[in-house]
Symmetry: C2
Subunit: 183 residues, 2 copies
């Protein structure tokens, strides 16, 4: 479907999603299957976690747009005990020159090892492209809506120089709760 | 990577590919894992299979570009006996008005039940988008190169009205044989 603004993309993303994710470990040809529930909730601009994240990155409160929290809970077929859970606070900071691109601030939450800042840009076809550089790797995520209630995500983990792709994963995310029914 | 023309896309595609494909059956949340080998070979414009396909669709031999054959062989985890194999001849017919878009003629090969004609268009980000309408469903495929030796494919099978997505699949395809070493 045609998503034309970052605001529209973020508003469509709010809700509870049932996710099926397949990981491809390219060097070994391994598959991984993950099922999870993802909750994406809008945050107020004056939420303490948002204010703290802005403060850490020297970003003015007025420069941000549509902050949100993600919480996920699921299990992988790689280990029967591998139930996992985590959450993040994410704050988009649109570029002044281009409202379709900007930085995405992310805190450590309670499952990540590092905070990160990614670069996002909405593509002409409505795909949200997010690139996050880490010390030794980079992550490239493409998220797009097929319908308002179905979105797809392709994530690549690359070597830092961008030439090697180590893992690729594909998620199908189906809305399981309309956003207005959420707490 | 930046693919700017259909010719470049098709030339990069020639070769042998080791494919990992994950299918997501959305209504039931099922996963399917498929491993296969895909051989894509260039065909001459005067190959009898190409001439026959052009004839069936009333297409002049001079209107086509870069015909090719695909052959695949693999197995699915859904059934231990589910080894499968098939092949197709495919003929791109570029639009006169736009060399980045056109029709893709496909024969029945020896595994498909129907011949088909799809519409393709190279997207600004280098993704090859192919939409094929069938009687009761439509198929949407997006294929893009991460590097010259790694390509990804997302395929959706939709209801004919385009509103429902029944299955989504994701393939990682790694080149296993340089094109000049192929027969």
């Amino acid at each position: 479907m045609d998503v034309r603004t970052i605001e529209q993309f973020l508003e469509l993303s709010i809700g509870r999603w049932r996710s099926q994710r397949s990981g491809h470990h390219l060097a070994f040809g391994h598959f991984e299957e993950v099922r999870s529930t993802i909750d994406i909730t809008a945050l107020a601009g004056d939420d303490p976690a948002v204010i703290e994240l802005c403060h850490q990155h020297d970003v003015a409160a007025g420069a941000i747009s549509h902050p949100f929290a993600m919480h996920w809970q699921g299990e992988s077929d790689w280990d029967e005990n591998a139930a996992f859970e985590g959450s993040n606070v994410l704050v988009p900071v649109p570029d002044l020159a281009d409202p379709k691109a900007g930085r995405l601030l992310r805190d450590k939450g309670y499952a990540e090892t590092v905070a990160a800042v990614g670069r996002y840009a909405l593509q002409p076809d409505g795909t949200f492209l997010l690139i996050t550089e880490y010390d030794r790797a980079s992550a490239e995520e493409r998220i797009w809506f097929a319908t308002p209630n179905l979105r797809f995500r392709v994530s690549l983990i690359k070597t830092r120089d961008g030439n090697g792709v180590m893992t690729a994963s594909f998620s199908s995310e189906i809305r399981s709760l309309p956003s207005h029914e959420q707490k």
